[in-house]
């Protein structure tokens, strides 16, 4: 049986939740070391399809700074973080931009938009 460990970030207790996994089927056989049910859900999500909100910057013309901070408007699959960073490296916007304005729509078909996170 394979084992995987995930430190739950939901509350300050930071349980190190342990998953026991069937090596061939990748099925979860046992979940332990979580002190509440949230830890179980967290670990399952982290094992099956971890997601993260990505924050970065894109180039802006005519702004107070050369870059404007942006983020995905919903979490995106964790393995796509680097690819979305490369997308952001190619983006150039023009001031004025409002917080919440969409900078890239449906980035890499994730269903998430990249939006500005401030006015500039």
């Amino acid at each position: 049986m394979d084992k995987a460990f995930y430190v739950c970030t939901i509350c300050p207790l930071s349980c190190e939740v342990q998953l026991e996994i069937e090596p061939d089927t990748k099925e979860i056989r046992k979940i332990s070391h979580n002190r509440c049910p949230k830890g179980k859900d967290y670990a399952i999500k982290e094992f099956t399809s971890p997601e993260r909100t990505l924050t970065t910057t894109v180039a802006i013309e005519g702004g107070i700074h050369p870059l404007i901070p942006v983020r995905t408007d919903r979490p995106i699959p964790k393995p796509l973080m680097h690819d979305i960073m490369r997308v952001s490296a190619q983006v150039r916007v023009k001031s004025p931009i409002k917080m919440g304005d969409i900078v890239v729509e449906n980035v890499l078909d994730t269903g998430a938009n990249i939006i500005a996170s401030r006015n500039m």
Binding site: T9, T56, T57, H65, L67, P69, S117, R118
Partner: protein
Amino acid sequence: MKTIKTDIAVIGGGPAGLAAALAAKEQGAALVTILERNEELGGILQQCIHHGFGLHRYSQELTGPEYAQRFIDEVETSDIDVHLETMVLEITQDRVVYAMNAKDGMMRIEAGAVVLGMGCRERTRGALRIPGHRPAGVLTAGAAQRFVNIDGYIPGKEAVILGSGDIGLIMARRFTLEGAQVNAVVEIMPYAAGLTRNVVQCLDDFGIPLKLRSTVVHIHGQERLEGVTIAEVDDSWNPVAGTEQYVPCDTLLLSVGLIPENELSLQAGVEMDAVTGGPLVDHRMMTTVAGVFACGNVLHVHDVVDYVSEEAEVAGSAASAWLQSEKTQVPDVTVKAGEGVRYVLPQSIDSRGEAKLFLRVTQPQENVVLDIGGLFQLKQRVVRPSEMIQVKLSRKILEKLDSNAITISVAQEVKAVG
């Protein structure tokens, strides 16, 4: 020299200053002036482009700029007077503020009350006295953050980060996302200084090693940094011979602590707390100088901005109330840090009202109780030095107090739970 009269002069337009100014206005101050040294409001939040702000206050995860924008929008629609690119040079005991900028020149600002919100600065290599050479490529994590997120430059391609404070962890992720490599995060303590979620999402996500009980013992490179020697430390934080390891890198980021910036406060005659590095304050966030209030990281270093806003609102509205009637309740009870508690703020409170205490413990522990001056006990499943604890003291509880001091301490829970 221009003379300006104002009711409340707020020093700093970061999260503390913004919230304090708005609260002062809300409480009825007619003239509120924010003096901000940067070219825009928002302070350090503008370079903290990552998310995780506002969980307590708004129950959502905002980025630093988003959190700031909410306050900035409110300030902009109010009649608060904002001076940008303005440096405060001096604050006197009788609340005269000397500030300057290119547009208005030198200003003598006569303020009814002053709210200090200057924030903090980062501890430097020099303060740590890290041995070795002095090449380029050694900088504080915050300076690197500004270069990467605001100015648009990345200091290096291969980094080591000393200190696992939140900025260090956040910068480990930022460097990695920007296409650089982080070879290690080195922490002298046996546990990470930053929040667990940052350890998970900034280090574990990218396979960046966290080396605990270790430190940088030598910096190599005549011109640009070439590498660092790291070593394990013993219980008194001295490097253990034979554990040295050379790690190549062109950049060393330091995330080794923040220091409240109180040079102006000291000039004004404000008394300091040796532990927090910030002013001694009462329940109104008033310092030992009448009419001078303090909030945010200038008072003590926070882990979560939400608490900065909350504390600043107390300071701002109290400043306004004090100005309207100098007879606001004066403190009659001292608050002390006891066993297991590093510090408690405010250092004095008014027993005739209610109070909110902010405290930090000395070490991580599970299943403990916080003893609040014998008045009551609070069970805590886990306490960590990195996570500030808030304790509310209701009027009813304070009525029971029959002493002029309260000591807060951490004790092991008698009956273990869970």
